[in-house]
């Protein structure tokens, strides 16, 4: 019987890890569809960002109360993983609480701490459910989240609560069995939280208790493995990608726009034709700006997968606050949705993209949204996981203007004013210093 359980566990675990790795590989492939950009400079600063922004969740603390709750859930999940390690080893080796003899008196202390964390996770998730579904905070009832994204958020919170309850119930049943001296249930010492709940099992037989304990054990680990495989389809992927995304976050001042060396070069040749003679001829016509996800950088695409749709960006966006269509969160969600679509297309067509007459621009993000951006960087500032929606907006704008000559009439006028009068308004260059003589 034990060997059957061990075998079952190994199959379950192996399948879960295999499926997850396969999907993770697919996501990695999708991200690498983006344009190349070297983001490996200043590793010291990058590690610092990783520690402060991802591990330390520095930006979450712009709203301290929510940050503390989120930190409980995050720390709970991270630290309880140590317990998962024991569970996995038990499962593979057919043991029960393998670490007890190793850790001795430290064991119940560790489990006690995990249990307190589990209670904090449950509390945090419950409050988050209330904020989303009862208090209906503005950023959670936004139409950005209509349909699947809203359910996704609730599924995640409910699953986390259920997993923690299974963990606590399993421990409580275990404690009760220990007290009765049941076989296999080696004494561990008192667990701080579940130890208080053993009386609820008072009327039950040893057999029933064992069924409860085993069921909770299996459901808990199966739930964890299922959750792992849910991540790649969910906004919750941020629990993994927040880390690389912080590492690869831009180190430049937020005001700086990415240079376009191709345009720089072309203008250089125009202004200094003497350089043209020595310039290497380029036979490929460069693309200006971004029309689809594959024109964006891989960091933009990593951003899209890292987004957990919290909406802090949109809540701070001046355009959105004043009722414009633009929502930086939607920019990120659209980018991910389109990237997933392109990824599926490539997979279905044996590795090559087959034109589907769709693009990120227009089929997902409209011109009206792009036009409304004031480039104020509020969205970039607010994002706790170092996402830059503005960078995508600006690349799409570049495509509109440079590839399609699509700009509002006032902008076209502004461009020609700059070109002809060296100022965005129609003033004579000769009057530029008139103020100094008045």
């Amino acid at each position: 019987m034990r060997i059957v359980q061990e075998l079952l566990f190994v199959i379950l675990f192996g399948t879960a890890v295999y499926l997850f790795s396969r999907k993770a590989g697919q996501i990695r492939k999708n991200i690498l569809l983006g344009r190349d950009k070297d983001l490996n400079d200043h590793p010291n600063l990058r590690w610092k960002n990783l520690l402060l922004l991802a591990f330390g969740q520095k930006k979450m603390f712009r709203n301290p109360l929510v940050a503390v709750l989120h930190f409980f859930v995050y720390a709970g999940f991270l630290i309880i993983n140590i317990e998962i390690l024991e569970i996995i080893l038990d499962g593979i080796l057919g043991q029960h609480r393998l670490f007890v003899p190793v850790l001795g008196g430290l064991y119940p202390v560790l489990i006690g701490l995990f249990e307190i964390l589990a209670v904090l996770v449950i509390t945090g998730c419950a409050i988050f459910l209330v904020r989303r579904n009862i208090l209906k905070l503005k950023r959670f009832i936004s139409k950005d989240l209509d349909g699947w994204p809203r359910s996704d958020a609730n599924y995640i919170l409910i699953t986390e609560i259920v997993l923690m309850l299974l963990f606590l119930t399993m421990n409580a049943a275990d404690q009760a069995l220990q007290a009765r001296g049941a076989a296999h249930y080696i004494p561990t010492g008192n667990f701080w939280v579940s130890g208080m709940f053993t009386p609820i099992f008072a009327g039950m037989s040893d057999g029933t208790l064992e069924v409860i304990e085993r069921s909770c054990w299996w459901l808990h680990i199966a739930g964890v493995l299922a959750f792992l495989n849910y991540l790649p389809y969910s906004k919750h992927l941020h629990i993994i990608l927040a880390f690389p995304n912080a590492y690869y976050a831009s180190l430049e001042p937020k005001g700086e726009m990415e240079n376009m060396p191709a345009v720089q070069h072309e203008v250089q040749l125009m202004l200094q034709p003497e350089l043209a003679a020595n310039a290497p001829a380029s036979d490929t016509m460069p693309k200006f700006g971004a029309k689809d996800v594959t024109d964006l950088t891989w960091k933009n695409l990593l951003d899209a997968y890292s987004c957990t749709e919290c909406g802090r960006c949109t809540a701070a966006c001046p355009a959105n606050i004043t009722g414009k269509l633009l929502s930086p969160r939607k920019i990120m969600m659209d980018t991910r949705d389109r990237l997933e679509e392109v990824g599926r297309n490539i997979k279905a067509n044996n590795g090559t993209f087959t034109d589907d007459n769709k693009t990120l621009l227009r089929d997902y993000i409209t011109e009206e949204e792009l036009r409304a951006c004031t480039t104020c960087n509020a969205c970039v500032q607010e994002c706790p996981v170092s996402i830059n929606p503005l960078d995508i907006i600006l690349q799409l704008r570049r495509h509109l203007v440079m590839e399609e000559s699509s700009a509002p009439a006032e902008w076209t006028g502004m461009f020609s004013n700059i070109e002809n009068n060296m100022a965005p308004w129609k003033f004579s260059m000769d009057d530029r210093d008139k103020w100094a003589t008045e």
């Binding site: 726009m257 960087n377 700059i418």
Partner: protein
Amino acid sequence: MHIKTMAEYAANGETPEVLFWVGCAGSFDQRAQKITKAFATILDKVGISFAILGKEESCTGDPARRAGNEFIFQMMAQNNIQLLNMYGVKKIVTACPHCFNTLKNEYPALGGNYEVIHHTSFLQSLIDEGRVKMQEGGSFKGKKITYHDSCYLGRANNIYEAPRKVLETLDAELIEMKRCRSKGLCCGAGGAQMFKEEEKGTTRINFERGEEAVATGASVIAANCPFCMTMLTDGVKEAGKEESVKVLDIAELIEQSMK
């Protein structure tokens, strides 16, 4: 006050301490011209040798770049850099945070490397060095002032304290809006919005910000950007407070209060 150009300095074989980059708004916009004059007056009073580029100055290219027109940006930028390098410019001060951001952060990639300072930081160092001294009981003493962070000085370049330190010397009561510093709300002009109508929405961004600024009860809204100046002035007008609430640039506040 005669304001000399770089060309005049060069003709005499001299170099000024600093180039005052006036910017298009500061040069042509009537309201912003007052800011330009106020800042030039301060520089003149404290005896800093400075020059402007005069007719040779061009748009930095900021609005074109942010609207998506990289060609026009590159044309402006490369011409400006050629000119600045020809004059051997080392240090630039500007009263426009958009020019500041472009000159400081975007010109280096194109071969333009200068020490670029926004006028609020420049004023702070003049005050710190004791070169700008305030009048006893200046005209803003005890008055309520609120400060509007421009996006291109604040979030874009992380300058939040210098303007506030300058305002502190006025002995005024500084009231912060709820959305201030890195949470500051945009005036609505950035990203080339200044040059077009807003998209359809429930209100205008500058009305939203104007209302927030007026709600502090301040009689002065301090700005550091000629575009914010235009937007906030309209916002205050919309809130019906144009008589009682003045939008002034930090340079104007200092110019009116210094000895």
